[in-house]
Amino acid sequence: MNPQLAGLDDLEGTYVFDLHTSNRAMKLNRFLWKMIGTEARAHFSKDPEQAMTEAGLSDTEKDLVRRQDWIGLIRAGASFFVLEKFARVAQRTNLEVYAMMRGETFDEFMATRRVPECR
């Protein structure tokens, strides 16, 4: 256990992205990361199944991507910072992704914010 991170076990809704997670979910994260490239984006838009198979995603991972299950992807080991690149391709804003990860509708989530118009 990394002593810098000890004592977080009771902190709910937080998934620390460490080398264990990174190593386990390398293919998923690389697939999401590649969305910063115009070619990878075009390839995914044209044939998502083929793109996911080429990236070596497991069936579970493919399903999470198909359903755009943001919290499921985080639990499967995705780093938020590559997830947000995929969110751009899926035409979702970060605020929408936060709401979905919290299990709230967008309006419910924004109602909890101080300046909901700031988007």
Binding site: E84, T112, C118
Partner: protein, 278 residues
């Protein structure tokens, strides 16, 4: 001899860049953010620093997790602003100073800070989101940047204390550069926010204020905190505030806070501060 004339702390939320590009400077929801940068931009226009050293983090754009540097310094005449999935931003590439960057790399490594170097790679919102609020980009940026990326994404990440020491080493590097350059050090990130998991949207204004006060008066205290302390108090991604401590290390000693703007609108406590050596 080059000299550090001040420090800036700033958030680097990507939406700042989006709002900037969409021209939302006078939108009532965004104006408190943009107005808050004005005094810092004015100070920069008056002091005319030659270089801004950015302690920032890459967001798995320049580097991927298969080879993720703990500390990495950019070298180049210019740095392209990265496409992060939504296409290119309408901004000119950021400018660099090859000799200055190389001197800093040499000085850091000879000082036992074995930093990675990178060349010819685009840089993401870690640098590019706040930069146009600090410096004008038309017709071109008025000075150069020295990008120093710190891993705050994939644990293990450097300790708060290590970041502070990196700042101290940067100061030795700057002060041993033969040219009379004026340098400002920028620490980016924060303040409280969490962007992943069911805890996304977490903020802690009380802690943010405590952080900002300790930052000036007692940074030593902040260097003793563990990553878990930052995560618990300010939200998981607020741990990136350790990059502010790198800037503080470069301004070691007494400092004066000339400006502070804090705007917590949706999910990140968007903050900008300005410091001068006392």
């Amino acid at each position: 001899m080059a000299k550090i004339i001040g420090g800036i702390g700033t958030s680097h939320v990507p939406t700042i860049g989006v709002a900037y590009d969409k021209g939302k400077q006078d939108d009532p929801a965004w104006a408190p953010l943009f107005k808050g940068y004005k005094p810092v931009a004015d100070w920069l226009a008056e002091k005319k620093p030659d270089a801004l050293v950015f302690f920032y983090n890459d967001h798995a754009t320049t580097f991927f997790f298969d080879l993720y540097p703990t500390f990495a310094l950019g070298i180049g005449e210019q740095f392209e602003i990265a496409d992060e999935g939504a296409g290119k931003r309408p901004l000119p590439p950021m400018r660099g100073n090859v000799d200055l960057s190389i001197h800093i790399a040499e000085s850091l490594v000879n000082d036992e800070f074995d930093i990675t170097t990178f060349q010819d790679r685009p840089i993401d919102h870690g640098c590019a989101s706040p930069l146009p609020l600090l410096w004008p980009h038309a017709p071109d940026w008025p000075g150069v940047i020295v990008p120093i990326a710190i891993n705050v994404l994939q644990f293990p990440i450097p300790t708060a204390k290590r970041c502070y020491k990196l700042g101290q080493a940067l100061r030795r590097a700057i002060e041993s550069y033969p040219e009379d350059l004026k340098v400002v050090v920028v620490g980016t990130g924060g303040l409280s926010h969490q962007v992943h998991g069911e805890r996304a949207g977490f903020n802690n204004e009380e802690w943010d204020m405590e952080f900002l006060d300790l930052f000036v008066k007692n940074p030593e205290e902040l260097t003793k905190l563990r990553h878990a302390d930052y995560i618990r108090r300010g939200g998981a991604e607020s741990v990136e505030q350790i990059m502010w401590l790198a800037m503080r290390g470069a301004l070691e000693g007494e400092i004066r806070e000339l400006h502070r703007n804090y705007y917590l609108a949706t999910t990140t406590a968007m903050t900008v501060t300005l410091y001068e050596p006392a």
